[in-house]
Structure formats: structure tokens, C-alpha cells
Symmetry: C2
Subunit: 660 residues, 2 copies
């Protein structure tokens, strides 16, 4: 290890991060309490999701694919055929990473016997070169030669996840066994790159992983390998047909890209890697390109739930403003990847908008991907399910499923949630301020041995109280969420009201000087109706209901008439409804609406003066109930919609500084 290496016990994105404007807290400096939403989520992840993933590695065949390499002829080693997609090994690696972060979080190795068995298995089947992809080694690929199919082979993708698992285990437990397996393979890739092999993976992931490997080992060869792989990309080396180069982010060099394009998860992982390299090198062109693409993604191609990837076909970002609620792909992995990208953008810039986006994706699309019991998952996350929906396709299922033919999402969710506590706060590089990004019941170290406790009912309640054991030796920086109007936000420091506008910095944080003992932030939590940019044709005339960071949705189970027949009366206002213990949410939303039967209305009809014709029958007034999108689909399967047609009779009027 060199002086640059990450300290033992760091979380993801560990290390000195020379170009960062704000840096992750040291190991163990942040803990989420189970009294709050995020802490409970981590507990559920530990108790249910991680064990569920470990079990699925057996039932899905992912571990058998590796065991078979021990001796294909021995039935004890499962000589059935290779099972799953050619990147099934990554399910193993992501689960190992989740276990590692969970060990770090809980302060003790978890599932250690199982992990050691898997690590032992990996070590035994690893080729002498270090190569370790069971799809190729097991003869299931078209070629037995490694890297024969860079476009579809996913080998470097699998390596990337193995590296991240090894790094996580080393940081969490101090054990290098898995890291050694990963570096043996990584070293072979570095050698090949050094010898001029043009290794570009059809599915980006390894770029970010190699930067992490550099951070963990201090060996700049990995950083340079990541740079080389990014430099090689964007010139069509991966070929085309049936997928175009843009699908693999191979149409435009990374520094020249202005827009997100192609397969959403691939694009988002790549961008995380681009910012990872920036954090180590400070090369402005990398951050500038990532920022341009972030503006494009968040200004033109993100669903109101934070979901990304509009198209089922090719799992891709679509055209600008192509954001269909019913056919939103919004893969759970894209939600995870967007959080990873946001976190790196936040570290690189210290700007609140990246934390806003991180929180928004986390509490909406990412949260919705998992059932309330932690053992069932959505692959894609639509914003509407219609009456009559055919949910046979696992990519647009009517309900969550325990596992998938392509099982990328569940362990990806598990590894993210197990490391959530590392994203609550960071330390600003310039003045050492403790910057708080996520409001949740948490205990933070303030950098001087004393602690800051955060207590809040957020996101159900807008009051956030920070209490320091001793006068804080560093300034505090509290994120003012983009949806919160500064004029209606209150801040109190040690009992004295503070002018919010006066302490709001250019990055979007409320700055509190060193020495404070008790800070109370009160965010405005009135329900909001959100409209989309007029170019989002798919939701014209509709609103999405939100409160604080949470987007809400209507579920059929709460309404006695078909959801498709409901129109919201915006002028009647929105109220905060009671908590729902079944769903585990602290509040719901209630509004007024009307139901108009569309029975007998032809598919197309001529209209004279306006689009809305006279209703064929008198509308029926009804109460509309909206629940957080994060918990939809937990009371049986049925229609749901985030975007609700709003009555045209109400008066116009915009408000607020941001839509979300």
C-alpha cells in the first residue's frame, strides 16, 4: 500500500480522492439508526434481502456454474449445463460485495463461512492466468478463448464486479483473500492492455472497478488501465449490428459526449467510471463531459420517479422527452447506477443537486424495486400499470418476483443498500465542513471524536434536528432540497432563528459555522402537484403528486372505480393523509377527483371545439388516495398510476423553484 491508498475500513469510493470537493467520511463514522426509514431499510436488507440473494446463488445455478469447473465429469460438481446468462458470475460477485458492506455496516463479518467457501471455490477454479469467467472456462461460450467476444461476452464486466467484491471485503474485514483472486485476473488484463490489446467491454463496469482497485492497492497501474479502457471507447471498436455502437457507448469518445445514449445501465456505469477517474486525476474534460451528460439525463430523460431508460427495446435511453409512464423501463439497476453516478458527481463538485437526485432516485425508483418484506423485486419500474395489463413478461411483470433469468437487479440493490450509510454525509475539502446530504436517523462522527446525532421523522416530517455531543469543531452544511422553497424553510441554531437565504451557499447547502450544538431544520412538507415539461407528450394534462422527496401514485386497491376513469380536481387541493402501517409509510396523500365512465366511447371520435367532449354520463365525485411510489404493488397486483389526469377547469399558476 502507498500513502494514497484507502484507509482500512473505508466504504465505496474509498481513498484520498485528490480532486474531490467533498469526501466520504472515514470508516465507521456514519451509522443509520433503525428508528428511521433508511436504517430500517438497511436492517431489512441484512435480515431478508442478503440471505435471499445468497440462497438464490444456489437455486439459480450461479454457483454450480463455478463448481462445474472443478471436475465437469463428477456429478457431485454438477455436470449439468451452464445456466443463466453469460454474466451469471456477476450475481455471485455482487452478492459477495453486499455481504462485505453489510459486514462493514454491522461491524462484524457476516455469512463468513459461506463467503469463505465461495472464495475458496473461486480460487480453485481460477485459471493460471488469473482469468475467471465460468461461461468461457466451462465451454458454454462460442469460443474458449478469453475476450473473443468483447461485445457480448461480459467478461470484463464480470471482472469488474469481482474486483468490487474483493475491494469491499478487504475494506470491510481486512481480509485480502477475495481481493487476491480479483487482482490476479486484473493483473492479466493490465498486462494485455500494456501489450496493446484493445480491451473494451460491451458492458462498462470494469472502469469504475479498476479505479477502486487503484484506491485500495495504491498501484497506479489499475488507474492507468481504467484510463486506457475509457480512452479506447467511442470509436466503434465493438462493431455494430444488430446493435448500433451507441448501444454500448462506443459511438462517441467519453470526453466528447454531450448526451446519454444507448443501454441505460451501461451508460450510467460508464459515467460512474468517468467521474471515478476524474476524482483521481482532476482532468477537467472528464468531469465536464459527465456534467453535460448529467444535465441531459436529468433535464430530458429521467422519469419523475428518478427512473432512467425509457425503452424496453435495447433497454435504452430514448429520444429527448420520450418518457412513457406505462412503458417506462426504468430498470432497477439503472436506479442503482444513477445513485452511484450521483454520489461521485457530488463528491467531485459538492453540489446539492447531485445529492437531490441521489435521494430522489433512492427513495422512489430504487426503493420501489424491492417488496416491503425484502425478498421480491421489480426488474423494470413502470409509472403506470393499466387495467388489462399482460404481466407475463418478467421485464414488465404485474408484481415483484423472487429472482430473474437475468438476475442483475436483486444483488445490485443489496450491495447499494448495505452501503447507504456512507452517503449520509461527507467532509468538504475546503473548510472541513460536515456536509449532510440524507436526512435520516443517523449518528455521525464530526471528525474530532465527538458525534453528531440526526433525529427526524423525515421523509414524513420536515423537522430535522442535529445534536452534537460537544460544540461542533467544524462547520455544518445542510442540504436544502431542490423541492424546498427557501422562503418557507426554517433554520434554528442553538435556539436562534437563522435567515435561510443568508446562509444558503452557491452549492445549495445551508452553512452553519463551527461551534453549534443543536440545529433544527424545518422543511416545507406541503403536498405538491408536479407537471412535466410540455415536450413530455406522454403525460400531457396530468400531474404527479409529491410530498417532500417522495413521489406518490394511485393504486387500484384504494379506489372503487377503474383508475383510468379518474380525474383529479387540482383546485380542490391536496391534503396529507394518515400513515399506513401495512405499507410502513408515515403519511399518504388525499385529494378530490371525479370518475367518468368511458363505456361506449369510440377509440377515435370527431370533436368540434375542444379535445374533451361532453361526458357521456355524469361524473361521480370520489376521494383520491395516493401512496408513496416506493411501496406500490405490495397489496396484490393491479393497476397503478403516477401521472393522473388533472381537471382542466382549475386556474393556471406555477410555483416553486424546482419540480421535484
Amino acid at each position: 500500500m502507498t500513502a494514497d491508498a484507502a484507509p482500512a475500513g473505508a466504504g465505496p469510493v474509498g481513498g484520498a480522492l485528490p480532486a474531490a470537493r467533498t469526501r466520504p467520511l472515514p470508516a465507521g463514522a456514519a451509522r443509520l439508526e433503525p428508528s428511521g426509514l433508511l436504517g430500517r431499510w438497511q436492517e431489512r436488507n441484512a435480515a431478508a434481502t442478503v440471505p435471499h440473494c445468497l440462497g438464490a446463488l444456489e437455486t439459480s445455478g450461479a454457483l454450480d456454474n463455478l463448481r462445474r469447473l472443478l471436475d465437469p465429469a463428477d456429478p457431485e460438481h454438477h455436470d449439468g449445463p451452464y445456466r443463466g446468462f453469460n454474466f451469471a458470475d456477476s450475481d455471485v460477485h455482487k452478492t459477495l460485495e453486499a455481504v462485505a458492506w453489510e459486514s462493514a455496516r454491522s461491524g462484524a463479518p457476516r455469512h463468513e463461512d459461506e463467503v469463505r467457501r465461495v472464495v475458496g471455490l473461486l480460487r480453485r477454479v481460477q485459471a493460471p492466468s488469473g482469468y475467471l469467467d465460468s461461461h468461457v472456462l466451462g465451454g458454454a461460450a462460442a469460443s474458449a478463448e478469453p475476450y473473443a467476444d468483447l461485445r457480448w461476452g461480459h467478461e470484463l464486466y464480470v471482472l469488474g464486479h469481482l474486483v468490487q467484491a474483493g475491494v469491499a471485503r478487504a475494506r470491510a474485514t481486512g481480509r485480502d483473500d477475495l481481493l487476491d483472486v480479483a487482482t490476479a485476473w486484473a493483473d492479466d488484463v493490465v498486462s494485455r492492455l500494456d501489450e496493446g490489446e484493445e480491451l473494451v467491454c460491451g458492458h462498462p463496469e470494469v472502469e469504475s472497478a479498476f479505479v477502486e482497485l487503484y484506491r485500495e492497492t495504491g498501484d497506479p497501474a489499475y488507474r492507468e488501465a481504467a484510463r486506457r479502457m475509457l480512452d479506447l471507447r467511442g470509436y466503434g471498436r465493438l462493431g455494430s449490428g444488430p446493435f448500433e455502437p451507441a448501444y454500448h457507448q462506443d459511438a462517441t469518445p467519453v470526453r466528447a459526449a454531450d448526451e446519454v445514449a444507448g443501454h441505460a445501465v451501461r451508460q450510467l456505469y460508464l459515467l460512474a467510471g468517468v467521474v471515478d477517474l476524474y476524482l483521481e486525476t482532476g482532468e477537467d474534460a472528464l468531469l465536464a463531459a459527465a456534467a453535460r451528460q448529467w444535465d441531459d439525463a436529468h433535464g430530458r430523460r429521467t422519469h419523475v420517479t428518478g427512473g432512467m431508460g425509457s425503452r424496453h427495446k435495447d433497454e435504452s435511453f430514448g429520444d429527448p422527452f420520450e418518457l412513457p409512464p406505462d412503458r417506462a423501463y426504468a430498470e432497477s439497476c439503472a436506479g442503482v447506477a444513477s445513485v452511484l453516478w450521483d454520489w461521485r458527481m457530488l463528491l467531485a463538485t459538492g453540489e446539492a443537486r447531485y445529492a437531490d437526485s441521489l435521494e430522489h432516485a433512492l427513495l422512489n425508483v430504487v426503493a420501489a424495486a424491492t417488496s416491503t418484506d425484502g425478498t421480491a423485486f421489480f426488474y423494470s419500474n413502470p409509472l403506470q400499470v393499466r387495467t388489462g395489463h399482460d404481466g407475463a413478461d418478467e421485464y414488465q411483470a404485474s408484481g415483484r418476483r423472487g429472482w430473474f433469468a437475468c438476475a442483475c437487479c436483486p444483488p445490485n440493490l443489496a450491495r447499494l443498500v448495505a452501503s447507504l450509510h456512507t452517503m449520509v454525509a461527507s467532509r468538504d475539502a475546503d473548510d472541513g465542513a460536515l456536509a449532510v446530504h440524507l436526512y435520516a436517523d443517523a449518528d455521525l462522527e464530526d471528525g474530532d471524536g465527538s458525534r453528531v446525532r440526526i433525529r427526524t421523522g423525515y421523509p414524513w416530517d420536515g423537522d430535522v434536528v442535529l445534536t452534537a455531543d460537544a460544540p461542533s469543531p467544524v462547520p455544518l452544511a445542510l442540504r436544502l432540497p431542490g423541492w424546498a422553497d427557501a422562503a418557507r424553510t426554517r433554520l434554528e441554531v442553538d435556539g436562534a432563528a437563522v435567515d435561510v437565504a443568508a446562509v444558503l451557499d452557491a452549492r445549495g447547502y445551508l452553512r452553519v459555522g463551527a461551534g453549534a450544538r443543536r440545529v433544527r431544520l424545518s422543511l416545507p412538507m406541503e403536498p405538491r402537484a408536479l407537471a412535466a415539461h410540455p415536450h413530455v407528450d406522454a403525460v400531457r394534462g396530468c400531474v404527479a403528486l409529491a410530498r417532500g422527496p417522495l413521489v406518490h401514485c394511485l393504486e387500484q386497491v384504494d379506489h372503487g372505480v377503474a383508475l383510468e376513469d379518474v380525474t383529479l380536481d387540482l383546485a380542490a387541493g391536496l391534503e396529507v393523509g394518515p400513515a399506513d402501517d401495512v405499507l410502513g409509510v408515515g403519511a399518504t396523500l388525499v385529494g378530490s377527483g371525479r370518475a367518468t365512465s368511458s363505456a361506449g366511447v369510440p377509440l377515435y371520435r370527431a370533436v368540434d371545439g375542444a379535445v374533451e367532449g361532453d361526458a357521456p354520463v355524469a361524473p361521480v365525485d370520489l376521494q383520491v388516495r395516493a401512496v408513496p411510489y416506493a411501496v406500490w404493488g405490495n397489496r396484490g397486483e393491479g393497476p397503478m398510476r403516477v401521472w393522473v389526469p388533472a381537471a382542466a377547469s382549475a386556474r393556471p399558476g406555477d410555483r416553486g423553484r424546482s419540480g421535484r
Copy 2:
């Protein structure tokens, strides 16, 4: 041949059709004149599209795939690898069918030397069993065994198109050479079915073809084979994963189906076959199922252009009312197939709504698929192209292309257009009335040796004049289009006005008794604004502009501001605009609108009382120009939209009996 066999020279769906309510005219009884739209289309098809397809059979490798079978080692026979999808043979067969109908239309064999060379080639490479699929015979398939992969192999699909080509050539030219090749293969399939082999093709098509083969040969074994293949379907015999049985219409038995489902072209070909069998057997359950599915398709799953198939993913019908304009798949082949289905429904029932639908699909989605010069094609037919559209994918190209990796559409369009004249009119089974379905300059035989001439400027003009050489010996039945208000339609028989309501029959036709010499039908041609059913969320607040049977669209080239910023002022009315000689259309539409810049509007914003916020800048008034959808994309590539946001300020009010 038996007494039931089709008369020499018949068109598609030839033969006695015992269960038909109305029957195709005899061979040569209908001719389209090049003075009219449909006649010109046929001329262009003959002069440009058919030769283009013949040429593409060479350049695409489709003919080489067959030649290679002569002697794979001989370079003269092209020993390169198989090219194209595994059903590339069907491109050859569909082109041969197009040439045949074109020969029938023009009254003389066309491209006869080329056709004989191809027929000779097919005969030489045909296996002794009759089997003739070059993908399997050439060793390009995973198994050399025929029918080893019924789900994906497309072998019976290829056979179906070969049969239809052979039937068409026999009817058009009296030559049985190609029919003999087809029957040799078909006979082997019949034997296999008789021996209990469960032959169900993943891509329906052969069912309709076998009924045609029965009609042409009189041999009931083919009809029974078609019945058997329909009976076998719907029980999951084709297996599942990655596609579900519904994709292949194998989830529900054909007589039990209530909804269209799965891959749209597959579904539509299957339904054509179902009705073909009904026309021969009169089995009510077949027609009842087809009618239920037709109501579902046309009531919940058809774009306003007549396009079918909402999803790019799986090329499938989506959920009810899932009709996105930008991502409409609306494959050209689905348009062709829906016309084939409509024609059979019309023959089975005599009901005008099926002719309405046939004409609507023909003049909108099918017409749009081909460029005005006849040599470039759309694979999918979106109803919107956005600013910034990525048109690299041939399935959502920014412009028409000369050929495709999957080249099903161009020869499919060619074969349909070459036989259009056979759909202009039919003879009713009950009273022998000459029922006129398509208004176009045409000459028809009235069944007694004398002729009826139709002359009209339709679809640009609503006046249609029928003139008989002698007093018509049979009644006439004139379709009253669904979009035409009977109260504003005028009918004049031999100079005397007739009360339209009094002569409108239950099937939707205006009945004129025998003996008439001159009939003038005047249809109301005012522009119409169409709104969609309120469950079609994707076009809420928008209208589509139509006149007569033509749906129109806005093209960027006609507007100085971004199409996405344009709102139509419905209250200001719509006018008929001048003809456009470049596009070859007799009229356009003109309306008033306003353009509102959306610069600076966030992707999502909070609104207080209504969805439409105050415009950030004052809107600019502008003239809106709409051109027929059939000719969009012929003046360079650029944004286009069928559905246009309509100003909310206008007053409500429905009108008309039907939307289209």
C-alpha cells in the same frame, strides 16, 4: 380440379367461398384506372417497387441462399455463407407472388424470364421429399432436420409464402410450374400431419396459404391440414422462454380467443387464416372468435393511422389503449396483414366497417410505408418523430430505406398493391348486388357483360359517380364510410335525389335497386379533428387531423418553429389547403396555432391550480399546415407528428357517428 375450385384468373381468396356473404368479382372484372390514386399506386408498384424487389433478391443474398444448394463448393454458385434471417426465402416467394398479381392486373406475364429462372432454381434444389427451406438445407440452421425448431425455424411460414406464390402464378398465368413446387412440399406436410406430427409454426401464415391451395386445387386435404394446424395451436406446444406462448399466439386456442395478443404480424396472419377456414366451412365459432378479436383490435389497440402493434419489444400488440405515437411500431407488414384480415372479414360478413378499416389502413399506414418514388420503405410507421430523434435503428429509422436486414415489408407491400383492384368491389351472395367498397377511378363488370365505370376525385373530392353502360341488371351497394355523417351525404340516382337514410342498410351500404344508369354519391369532406378515447393516455389533450379517409400530420419542413412547441387552436377551425404536386396530393389542411417556447422550463415543476402554467414567453401565432400521413417523410428527414396538442381554451362538443 373439382367444381369448388377457383376459376382460372381469380385473384387472392379465389373460389366459391361457400360461407361468404359477399364474394370477389371474377377474374378481370375490376380494373383501376391510372387517373386515380389507387390506379397510380398500382402503376408505380409495377414500374418501380416490383423491379426494386427483384433486384434486391440478388443484392440481399436471398437468391444466393438457394443457388448455393446447387453445389456449395462451386464458387459460381456462391459458396459464401447463408445471408439474412432464416426466413429469407420468403422474400423470394413474396416477390414472385407480387409479379404474379401484377401479371394478372396487366393481363400479360411480367418478368417472365426472371420468374422462370427462379422457378427452375427452386425445382432443382428442392429435396426429394418436397422440402425446400434453404436455411435448413444449406446447413445454416442449428439442426439439419426439418421442423426441428418449429418455434423459430419459420419453415412452414416459408412454405406458406411459396404456396401463395404458386397459387398466384397459376391464377394469373395459368402456369402450374411454381404451384407444382409448392404442392410437392405441401403434400409432405399434409402427410406428416396425417401421421400425427404436431406441426405448429411459430409464425402463422401457412394456415391461410393452405386454404388458398385448397381453393386452387380443390383438394380438401389442404383445407383439413389448415384446420388441423389451427386446432393444434393455443396449447403451449411451441414452448416458452425467452418469449411467452402469447407471442406466438400459442396461449389460447383460436376459437376461445377474445383479444389480439403477441407479435402483431403473426396474430394478424393467423386471423386471416381463421377467417379463410370459416369462408370454406361456415363454422360459426371461427368467425365469432375473429370478430371478437377484431373488435378488441379496433376498439383498443389500433393507432389512428390504422397501424397495429404498439411495442418495438417483441413487435407486439401492447396492453389495451397503449398507443404511443412516438414509439408506435405499426410495422408495414402488420398494415398489410390487417388489410388481408379486413378483406376476409368483409367477404364473410358483408359489413361496411371492415371495408372502412381496410380502406383506412390502406390509405394511411400502408400507403406511408413506401416513398413517393416507390423504391424506399419504412419498416415501422411511427406517428411522431421528435426533434433529436436517433434514427440509426432501421426499425425506427429517420427516413425510408431501400431494403432491410429483415426484408419482410417491401415485397409484402408489392404483393398487396399488385392485387388492390380485386378489393374495389364484390358481389353480394344474397341478391347479387355489386357492392362497391373502395372509391377510385375503376371499371367494373356488372356481372352481365356490361360495365360500371367509377369516376371520382376521391379521396380529395367527395363526389363519386358510377355510370353503367346499360341499366344495371343487379342492385348496387355503395359503402357509406364510417366517418361520413349520413345526414350530410347526398345520393342521386339517374338525376333524382334519394334519401340517404332510407337506403342505408344494416351493413352500412347505400342500396340502389337494379336498373340504375348513373349514380352520384357526394360525401361530406370537411376537415375533422379527432380525439382519442380518454384511456389513450399518450395523446391526451391532442387531436389528429383528418379529411375523408386520410389522416394528416405536421412536418417540420412546413413550420418555422419546433413542432414540439406548436399548439393548434381548434376553435379557429380547419380549412382545406391547396394541392401539393411535389407530394402528389390533391389537398392539404390548414389551421391556426401558436408556438410557445419551452426554453428554460424544467423537466418537472410544481403547479398550483392547473397543469398548464403561464407561458414563460408570449406565444407566437402561426399557420399550421398538415399533409396526408401517407406522404410524410418525402421531403427530407425531420420531426413529424400526427397528434397535435390542441388549445384548451376552446369549447367542448362532440359530433359525428365515428371518429375515423
